[in-house]
Subunit: 699 residues, 2 copies
Amino acid sequence: MDVFMAPRSVAIIGASRKTGEGSFNVIENMKEFGFQGKIYPVNPLADEIMGKRTYREITEIGEPIDVAIISTPREQIPRIVEDCATLGIKGAIVVPQGFADADEEGKILQDQLVQIAHQRGIRILGPNTLGVINAFSGFTSSFMSLRRKRTPVGVICQSGIFFVGSALFTGMMGKGIDLGNGCDLDFADALEYFGKDDQIEVVFAHIEGMREGRRFFEVAQKVARHKPIVALKTAKTEPGAFAASSHSGALVGDHEIFEAAFRQAGIIAAHNPEEVLDYTKTLLHLPPMQGKGVGVITFTGAGGIILIDALHEYGLELAELSPTTIQKIKDLSPPWMPIQNPLDIWPALMKHGMNYVYGTALREVLQDPSVDGVICIAIAPQLPDHAYLDATGVIRETASSLPEKPVVTWLYGPNQALVSQRLEEDGNVISFPTLPRAARTLAALYGRQLFLQQTSSPPPKFSVEKKGRDVLSRCQEKGDTKIEGEAAQVVLEGYGIPMARSRLCGDLREALQAAEEIGYPVVLKISSPQIIHKTDARGIVLNLQGPMELEEAYTSLIEGIKKRTPVAKVEGVLVQEMMASGIEVILGAKRDRQFGPALIFGTGGIYTEVWKDISYGIAPLTPQDARRMIRETRCFQLLKGARGEKGYDIDLIVDCLLRLSQLMLEAEEIQEIDINPFVALPRGGAAVDVRMIVGKRET
Amino acid sequence: MDVFMAPRSVAIIGASRKTGEGSFNVIENMKEFGFQGKIYPVNPLADEIMGKRTYREITEIGEPIDVAIISTPREQIPRIVEDCATLGIKGAIVVPQGFADADEEGKILQDQLVQIAHQRGIRILGPNTLGVINAFSGFTSSFMSLRRKRTPVGVICQSGIFFVGSALFTGMMGKGIDLGNGCDLDFADALEYFGKDDQIEVVFAHIEGMREGRRFFEVAQKVARHKPIVALKTAKTEPGAFAASSHSGALVGDHEIFEAAFRQAGIIAAHNPEEVLDYTKTLLHLPPMQGKGVGVITFTGAGGIILIDALHEYGLELAELSPTTIQKIKDLSPPWMPIQNPLDIWPALMKHGMNYVYGTALREVLQDPSVDGVICIAIAPQLPDHAYLDATGVIRETASSLPEKPVVTWLYGPNQALVSQRLEEDGNVISFPTLPRAARTLAALYGRQLFLQQTSSPPPKFSVEKKGRDVLSRCQEKGDTKIEGEAAQVVLEGYGIPMARSRLCGDLREALQAAEEIGYPVVLKISSPQIIHKTDARGIVLNLQGPMELEEAYTSLIEGIKKRTPVAKVEGVLVQEMMASGIEVILGAKRDRQFGPALIFGTGGIYTEVWKDISYGIAPLTPQDARRMIRETRCFQLLKGARGEKGYDIDLIVDCLLRLSQLMLEAEEIQEIDINPFVALPRGGAAVDVRMIVGKRET
């Protein structure tokens, strides 16, 4: 990536002859931006551009070139990239639209580019990209004129809007890489680069879809441990994904699996553009938030309440202030004023003045051991008229004198933008446009701290029985794509996942034998295509404790059905291990196109599709990952014991998810596993029904 | 309210002698704000304030006074309000804190105020309030100096922060009423006033809690039909509600019931401060959005995708543009450019220039019959340097020449604030800081239109049997507070709500008689405190078709239990109507402190508490309300037929909810009804278990 970000020399193929307003001239932009490397314009129709000798062909230049920026009609580009490779140029930035983002011809041209990159070793950024921007080296390939400061934020994106910026991004990008259609260089490459780049402290990624999800995931796992990564995943919904596949020709992928991969890798997911700004700015400037306890200083009870709602929503808490802190503010307030967190200091400051009261309160709260971060509510008055209402100075000074805990603010009043800007000048305080945004951002800061503190055991390695893999091989040889019933049971058993055993029996003798093998108690279920609701038809007998009960039940079952439902053709009787009543969950896995094997957990049974109460994890899972997956679902509330019940065997579910994870990594032929229901019991549990899909992935 | 909002004369009791910076002098503020009425300062320590003769006591004034603003120590206030009443003053604004928001003494003082208001007929605003502000009459009671324009937006709030404003409210309030602790004047009074006020076109309410929820609901139902009401309900969470009860001493109430009341009355709920600004501004300025179809004009594919996600999330759709519209843009674009909605016009404008291309595209899209509203994505460039990138002019002109459909924008680039402001100057276009906010606001505009178009049948009046009410009276006479079993069944039957009949029988003879009365098929269930899981214990026999089967089953049930579970003490056998398997829902009602009788519907059975899949409605329900309640739940997906199943009897559920609504209105002694489960079948359905709580409400 270095040749792309800070080249010593650059060839510009299809350089514009126009300059000035509306010319979109990249050479002009580079010069404005302070680029010091050598620039070689290539344009067969010009002799010189902006005082530089201009070449008809790139082959004429005859000097070493690090990177080529190509902006010619699309048909010429494969040949030009070939020429670049021949000349030993290491990187090409292909700017124009009209490739996989456009028509069939564009797709073919893009495939040609990919092939050249693979065969000739030249790396390609794009097509359909503004390329790169680097405020540190002054290099840019953007045809839009952009100015950026040397902010230590690295941006990876799939669109020029993040280069052009908005109120939410402007000024926050010191280096940027626009992947465009991402035909060769992908997210993993860009993230790896920023991960090692000492000039970059925070990385932001805008992602529609990516080719190399697995590699990205692995790189992110490493980078996130020492550098925060904020990601905005777009193309989340079905229509959004459809549009994205034509926008950048990207594989968009399953949004839920992206979210799971983000969580597991420690990437901070931004769900809307405001979060991008809030998280990036805060992670860049503020100290860590070590716990959930928030101290609040306010002039307004109503603001305090809006904030309390938000803290609760985002998983933070009002700190329980120490009696000393409370007393300090009580001493300044009228006697009838109830003093608690949020600290309403309005009556106090009417008596003792803004600076003294705000300073005292903020200092006390910051030094209170129960407080992990502070939210200050203050007024943004018209200045200079109402300067006596301005707390900017005292907040800034106090925060910078006690820099161990994050201090954020929300200002109300007529002058929010200006006063917020003044508050943020030193970088010790971040000011948010609303209280919920302040709370949400502190929660992200705390989430980052939890991630860094989290100790992760390695994924366990279970010893498995060969019989499971053998069954799979046999099925593949036979060309089966679906594995169910006893075959699937053997696979699970091979990997140590318990399954309720069952056998279809043709007569009583077989049933007795099956029950003996399965072990009592057992259940009998009539098997007949005509009987759909077995319970209503009295076609089920539960909890048979021994052979005598089985025999009696078998006979009366068959006879009862004959008598009551003479039309039913009985195929046999299913003898099944008696499962106590428990919680039905789904355990499963699928091979994701982008992230590879992904595990699935959630509410099972007939409710799976209605509730969509599902969480995902990327294999290999650690025990912590498996527990997180379970905690993320609503059915965790049932499993841990709702309505005063005692809980269910979560450890067993964790174990099964880890075993499934290993199975998916070892048996690459499995595309999907669907264990539904798996019945969780207070102790133990077992799969009742399982279905696998094997074979080549459909594309 | 008129005397509060536009008094001809005002007495200021506890008028400040200080003026200028930091003096918080209300007389000074009124004069700055242009108030033309008479002002009588009352302060025993001064002879004149700001050139006005000052009175020692209000009784000295001797002129007619419309309203008194009181800012004295709290102990004096009840006496002063008494004096005001004696002098025939119609309204008092009680500014100070220190009442129900503070300590016990404050609560007692506030109770005294309430009593004076009731006995003497004087109306009180506050205490703990900035009072009112009215840019139209120039009247304000605020001790903060505030300037507001004559914007036709009326604000009702429980806190001064909405008067002082913020980036989200500033300039949007032409009239404001701060209810403070709301001891007398409440939301219903303020809303009724703004409802009739021709100077006000949109009402915004900030609500922590209210006393007269029922009256507010009824007023809102009327006002919302001709004037949009936007509400921000705070104190939503448990800690928030706890804090609010001490902030304004208000009854906070159940957040879900508030939300239901909002929906039912046609109030537009804002869930965060940004929505307040977005909705208010847009409802004030833009034409209605008649359907879901959105046309998008963009320079950026990535922006289009962020928008498509948001449209989908908020229930809107990309309009299917007509071939004519598509062709017009195709003609301007390079041949390889795929043209569809969102219309990416960047390649076209590189060829034909900003104004021509943007103007053509916007005009065509606005005239396309499939389009109900337009979102324009454009650049906010540095001006005047990059004026060639500015589409402000052409968007404004085109939107104002075709004013039938809403046009909103999102601008990216370095100059969003300024260029957005220019775009909004005429009021024909609203510009949003992010695309999701633009989509969410158009969805609110469309929701408003749906509400206005919705035809509502009146709540039906069922003829009911007297026996239900008789049972209730008898229970009340006996002092029962809980009604279950057969008594509850009679109440439901009296109101025509079907219930699965059952009877506990001591012997076979009784069981046969019960089954005869209930009607076959029936179910037998063992009743024994020792047997909790009846199914596991084989204590249930289903689907008994006649007396012979019943007899056989009864005997073998009793004997089987004796044999298998000898410790079980059998109390009898429950004979119950056989219910086919269906969907378990909960139907219920409760008497809410603020809104009165509220209906409940949702997922029933053991999942009620885990899923919290519950919707509410305020009685009397219309059939449309009942259907909306059902549609709002996830279990509606099951009821309408998930997984290819055919649906369940939703009409019956609607009918039962309407009957419950009538029951709650007629039987005021019922505090709660809990029918769980009610089993919904493909045709029919019945309550299986019901429990009522009657008697005086706990306070």
